[in-house]
C-alpha cells in the first residue's frame, strides 16, 4: 500500500509516471485521487496515456461526473445572477465556479461544491434579501451562529436553495475579518473582470492570491493538494499569457498583505507540481515547507488520512490564524454548551 499521496502528485505533474503502476498501485492512486477531490483533474491529465482497461471506465466516469459538476456550477451561478440582476451590484464568482465560468485550465475536471460569490459589504443586506426572495433559505436558524458569522467571519451564514438543494456562500471579503493578513476586498471588487453573462471574476493576480489565501488561512490545509493544483494551473496560464503577470502579482500581493503566503504557495507548488516560477523570487526552501509538504501528502493508498500528528498540528494552527484566542475560547465554549 502507498504510504502517501506522492503518486498522485507525480501523475498530475508528469502523467507518464503512471505507466509503472500495477493493479494495486492504480487502485491506491484512484482512492487517493478521490479522497483529495482530484480524480477529475487526474482523468483529464491522463487523457493521452494508454491506461489499463480496468481503469479506463473509472477515469471516464470521473470526467463525466466533473462535466456535470461544471454544468451545475454554471447553472447555479446563473440562478444567482437572475436573483441579483435588479440590484445592479457587482457579483464576483469565486473558486471553482470562477474557473469554469472564465473557461480557465484550473476548471478542467475540477470538482465544485458550493457556489461562492463576493459582493461589496454595503450591498450584503440587499443581496441577502434578494436571495431569500428567490428561494434560498438559511441553513441554520441559530441566532448565535448568525451573529457569529456577521460579526466575525468573511461571509454571510450559508444559504441553501429549497428546491435545488444547493448552497451559496456570500462573502464580502476573502478572509475572516479577524484574521491577519487583511486582503483588500474593495480593491478586489474594483479590479474584477466582467464576463459576457454580466457576472464577474477576479482579475488574474487577485484570483491567484485568493487561492493562496484560501490554501493557508481557511481550514487545516484539508484539500490542499487540489488547492495547490489550482495554483499551478492558474500560474501556468496567466504567466504564459501575460509577460507582466509576475510584476502585477507582486504589486497585488503587497496590497493584500499576502506576500509571505504567496511566496510559500509558489515554493510548494514548484516543489510538488514543477510549477514554472523562474520569474518569481519565492526565497529558499524553509524547514516549515518540509512540514507543509508532509501535511499535504498525508493520505495513504487506502484513501485514509495519515500522519494524524501533523494534521493535528495544522488544525490548531489554522484556528489561531482565523480567530484571536479569546474569541476562539468563547466560540468553543458556546459549542460545548450547546453541542
Amino acid at each position: 500500500m502507498m504510504r502517501d499521496a506522492q503518486s498522485l502528485v507525480d501523475a498530475l505533474r508528469d502523467p507518464v509516471t503512471v505507466l509503472s503502476l500495477d493493479g494495486a498501485g492504480w487502485t491506491d492512486l484512484i482512492s487517493i485521487a478521490r479522497a483529495e477531490s482530484l480524480i477529475g483533474s487526474l482523468a483529464h491529465r491522463l487523457a493521452n496515456i494508454t491506461v489499463p482497461e480496468q481503469v479506463r471506465p473509472i477515469l471516464k466516469d470521473a470526467i463525466q461526473a466533473t462535466d456535470l459538476a461544471r454544468q451545475q456550477a454554471l447553472w447555479e451561478a446563473d440562478c444567482a445572477r437572475r436573483a441579483l440582476a435588479s440590484l445592479n451590484c457587482k457579483v464576483v464568482l469565486m473558486k471553482g465556479t470562477a474557473y469554469v465560468a472564465g473557461d480557465l485550465d484550473a476548471g478542467i475536471g475540477r470538482s465544485i461544491g458550493d457556489l461562492d460569490i463576493m459582493a461589496a459589504q454595503d450591498s450584503l443586506p440587499a443581496v441577502e434579501e434578494a436571495l431569500l426572495d428567490a428561494g434560498w433559505e438559511w441553513v441554520k436558524p441559530d441566532p448565535y451562529d448568525d451573529q457569529y458569522y456577521r460579526e466575525h467571519m468573511h461571509e454571510l451564514p450559508p444559504l441553501i436553495h429549497r428546491e435545488r438543494d444547493r448552497m451559496i456562500d456570500v462573502h464580502h471579503t476573502t478572509l475572516p475579518l479577524t484574521a491577519k493578513p487583511t486582503p483588500n476586498p474593495q480593491a478586489m471588487l474594483d479590479a474584477a473582470v466582467k464576463l459576457d453573462s454580466g457576472l464577474y471574476v477576479m482579475s488574474p493576480a487577485d484570483m491567484l492570491l485568493h487561492s493562496v489565501a484560501h490554501l493557508f488561512a481557511d481550514g487545516d490545509l484539508a484539500g490542499g493538494l487540489r488547492n495547490l493544483w489550482d495554483i499551478d494551473r492558474l500560474v501556468r496560464q496567466f504567466s504564459g499569457a501575460d509577460e507582466e503577470f509576475w510584476t502585477e502579482l507582486g504589486v497585488r500581493a503587497r496590497l493584500h498583505q499576502l506576500e509571505p503566503h504567496l511566496a510559500r504557495a509558489i515554493r510548494l507548488a514548484a516543489r510538488l507540481y514543477d510549477t514554472p516560477v523562474d520569474k518569481y523570487r519565492g526565497g529558499h526552501t524553509r524547514f516549515a515547507d518540509y512540514l507543509y509538504i508532509r501535511r499535504l501528502l498525508a493520505r495513504d493508498g487506502w484513501g485514509r488520512e495519515s500522519r494524524k500528528f501533523i494534521r493535528q498540528a495544522f488544525y490548531i494552527r489554522s484556528h489561531w490564524l482565523r480567530m484571536p484566542p479569546l474569541m476562539l475560547a468563547r466560540h468553543l465554549w458556546t459549542k460545548w454548551r450547546k453541542g
Partner: protein, 92 residues
C-alpha cells in the same frame, strides 16, 4: 403586459410527453421539469424569439385554432412568471 420573454434555446430543452404530463429536460441545469398543458405549447410557439404574453396568446390561438376567450394572455402570463422562476424562460 409589454414585458418581453424568451425561452431557453430550444436545443437546450428536450420535451418528452407522458400521458397527461410532459417532461422537459433542461440541458443547462440538468433539471427534469414535469409540466402540464399549456406549458409545452407555450414553449413550442415561443421558439427563440422575444415575445410578450399577448404575442404568445395570439400564436397559441393560431396554432391550436383556439377560440380566444379573452383571458388567454393572462393565463399565459401566469405560466411565464412560473417559467421564469424555474429558469426555463428569461425576461428580456
Amino acid at each position: 403586459m409589454s414585458q418581453l420573454y424568451r425561452a431557453a434555446a430550444s436545443e437546450g430543452l428536450i420535451q418528452h410527453p407522458l400521458d397527461s404530463m410532459t417532461l422537459v429536460y433542461q440541458k443547462s441545469s440538468g433539471i427534469t421539469h414535469i409540466v402540464a398543458d399549456p406549458v409545452p405549447a407555450i414553449l413550442t410557439v415561443m421558439g427563440e424569439q422575444a415575445l410578450t404574453a399577448v404575442d404568445i396568446a395570439g400564436r397559441l390561438s393560431d396554432r391550436y385554432d383556439l377560440e380566444d376567450s379573452g383571458d388567454t394572455a393572462e393565463i399565459v402570463l401566469a405560466r411565464l412568471v412560473e417559467l421564469c422562476s424555474l429558469g426555463l424562460v428569461d425576461k428580456v
